[in-house]
């Protein structure tokens, strides 16, 4: 090959990826960099945003316990949501996988169906059922005399966790489902022929093999829950803020963009660190199963 042709073929991959790369840089990297820069700017009630470099916002987040509480709540909700989806989603995927033919595809559709509906609509469903005195379930329970006052669901962490788990469930089920597909179809028979009972088979043979699926599902659910906006906004409202709704309020209500940017940046950095860290841990721990 001539030197010119070689040079051209070396440049070809760059030329071919250039449009996508430009889009990526234009709509993701540049706004992200601007957000990070914004977090170092000053802001005042009357002077607005001043493009200077100060650590005021970061200092405020680090010292004011209000922000610590906010972030702690965000991650607590995300962790509990992840646990709930894992506890319900893993067995759900296992049962689904054992169903035969038509039932399997029907229930897979039932699980995936909600993905087609907007998160806002799904969360509002919970509000319709449990929203104060007018919530359908609350009304029914109260008119039957089972409850005196509405079930505390709206504006509670429990409510937020339940609604988030509902929204995130398909991701966990799909992830575990994918891990189950990698299982040798005879593996349970093999364990059974060696004398293992059903409980032992699940604990010693199935669980360790689908654990990577559960954990990668957990990473997806955790990061989506920690950065979720619609569900916390509807269930928690202004009373029970998490990091995402906090950043939103700083941007659109207080109009303190630099502080909002600092909150958003911190959330992003924390999430990336947690996700990358746990992913590395999982891959090392389950190297043999992942192969």
């Amino acid at each position: 090959m001539s030197a010119v042709a070689e040079e051209r073929s070396a440049r070809a991959p760059w030329a071919l990826t250039a449009p996508a790369l430009m889009l990526f840089v234009g709509v993701l990297l540049i706004p992200l960099a601007m957000t990070v820069m914004l977090s170092f700017h000053d802001w005042g009630q009357y002077k607005g945003i001043e493009p200077v470099f100060i650590l005021k916002n970061w200092h405020e987040i680090a010292t004011d316990p209000y922000y610590a509480e906010m972030f702690w709540r965000t991650f607590r909700i995300a962790i509990l949501t992840t646990l709930l989806t894992a506890l319900l989603g893993a067995p759900e995927a296992y049962i689904l996988n054992r169903m035969s033919g038509r039932w399997k595809s029907f229930f897979l559709l039932v699980i995936l169906g909600p993905l087609l509906i907007s998160v806002v609509a799904r969360t509002l469903g919970w509000a319709l059922l449990f929203g104060g005195n007018n919530g359908l379930v609350n009304k029914l329970l109260m008119s039957l005399g089972v409850m005196r006052s509405p079930i505390p669901f709206m504006f509670t962490e429990t409510g937020m966790i339940i609604a988030l788990a509902h929204v995130m469930m398909p991701f966990m089920v799909l992830s575990v489902w994918a891990a189950l597909q990698r299982l040798d179809p005879q593996i349970e028979n093999a364990a059974m022929s060696l004398g293992a009972g059903p409980a032992t088979i699940i604990r010693r043979i199935i669980m360790p093999q689908i654990m990577p699926g559960v954990l990668s599902g957990a990473i997806i659910v955790f990061s989506l829950s920690a950065s979720a906006f619609a569900t916390p906004a509807i269930i928690g409202g202004r009373r029970l803020k998490v990091a995402a709704t906090l950043a939103y309020d700083e941007f659109l209500n207080t109009l303190n963009w630099p502080l909002g940017a600092a909150v958003a940046t911190l959330l992003l950095v924390a999430l990336v660190l947690i996700v990358v860290g746990s992913n590395a841990l999982i891959e090392r721990r389950y190297a043999e199963v992942f192969r």
């Binding site: 040798d184 179809p185 005879q186 593996i187 028979n189 093999a190 364990a191 059974m192 022929s193 060696l194 004398g195 293992a196 009972g197 032992t200 010693r204 043979i205 360790p208 093999q209 389950y286 043999e288 199963v289 192969r291």
Partner: protein, 346 residues
């Protein structure tokens, strides 16, 4: 008395009968093969013995006890699966130890038996390897060790060698036979490979469409096939349309210009079945023309066009001159080398 006995076992899936009227008595220490094309019901039969499927009808007895009443986990059979079904999250030693753990074998004895089992299959030193880091042949050995370490009453092998390449498969066949001879475990092998069945088994059960076609030693099934299916499935064969003439004395069987004294019991139209390596070129017999001649090292393969249809002949390469393509020849064989079956008139 039979050690393992299958008594008129049948399996139906809906309206479809997959195994029908399967009766077999296996002696202790015997090596039996279920041989047949895919879909003949051989794996289904194996799974019924293992307990993963329940027979629709019939009984399976082990030492006189009804096996179908025992849960698969309690049957104590060793099974090697086609995919090996090793536990990928456990090391080779942990895989082999699993069955012993389930039997509450004390730790020290367990370690010793695992070590011995892995050494027996030639995997000493591979204790801490994970299955995915092993070759197909090594995985297969782990699967065998895992099945044998629990000292199973019967060893069930479900196409265990079909995922190995040809050379390795031959090596494993020899090794499998040696191990089975040494420890004397009653073994049932499911396979679609006639060479594998013939080189390993004491007896072969040839199956087709859920039914037993023939049970016999490898030699019996090869040389005295009970049906056209068996003769076709076990190696190459020539089937010639012939007729038995009982009016002549002694009665004669005739195919084209070839003729021989007829065996007792048959008359009218018959099929004469003869293996290609038992046919010789002679001065008298079925007249034929050589269409192609293929040299295969230790033997010659001739495809001929005979007066009774196409015929194949295999001659050992003994250094003598062989007929050329296009040459007219006469095909002859000894009457004791052929099998004669009644032929239904179309």
């Amino acid at each position: 008395m039979a050690y393992l006995e299958l008594d008129r076992v049948a399996k139906q899936f809906g309206a479809q009968t997959v195994v029908d009227d399967f009766s077999l008595a296996v002696r202790k220490g015997e090596f039996i093969s279920f041989l047949g094309p895919s879909g003949c019901g051989k794996t289904t039969t194996l799974q019924m013995i293992a307990g993963f499927l329940d027979p629709t009808r019939g009984a399976i007895r082990l030492e006189g006890k009804d096996l179908t009443a025992i849960h698969p986990a309690k049957r104590g059979l060793g099974i090697v699966f086609q995919s090996y079904a090793l536990f990928p999250h456990m090391t080779a030693a942990e895989n082999v130890a699993f069955g012993l753990e389930m039997r509450n074998v004390p730790r020290a004895e367990r370690a010793e038996r695992v070590r011995a089992a892995l050494a027996m299959v030639g995997l000493a030193g591979f204790e801490d390897r994970h299955p995915r880091r092993m070759s197909g042949g090594q995985q297969q050995r782990v699967a065998l060790a895992r099945a044998l370490v629990i000292k199973p009453s019967v060893l069930l092998l479900d196409e265990p060698l079909s995922n190995l390449d040809a050379k390795l498969r031959e090596e494993m066949q020899i090794e499998l036979r040696q191990i089975q001879r040494t420890i004397g475990t009653t073994t049932i092998l499911v396979t679609h490979d006639q060479n594998e069945a013939m080189s390993l088994s004491d007896r072969i059960v040839v199956m087709s469409q859920g039914k037993i076609e023939q049970i016999g030693t490898p030699q019996e099934t090869y040389e005295k096939p009970a049906s056209a299916f068996v003769s076709q499935f076990l190696g190459k064969t020539n089937d010639f349309a012939a007729a038995v003439d009982r009016t002549a004395t002694p009665a004669r069987v005739t195919a084209g210009s070839w003729s021989a004294p007829a065996p007792a019991g048959l008359s009218g139209p018959v099929t004469v079945s003869i293996r290609p390596e038992r046919i010789g070129f002679g001065d008298a017999g079925l007249s034929a023309k050589i269409v192609t001649r293929i040299f295969q090292g230790n033997h010659w393969l001739f495809q001929c066009d005979s007066e009774c249809g196409p015929a194949i002949v295999i001659r050992q390469n003994d250094g003598k001159a062989q007929p050329a393509e296009g040459e007219a020849v006469r095909l002859a064989w000894r009457p004791e080398d052929m099998s004669v079956r009644a032929r239904a008139l179309a």
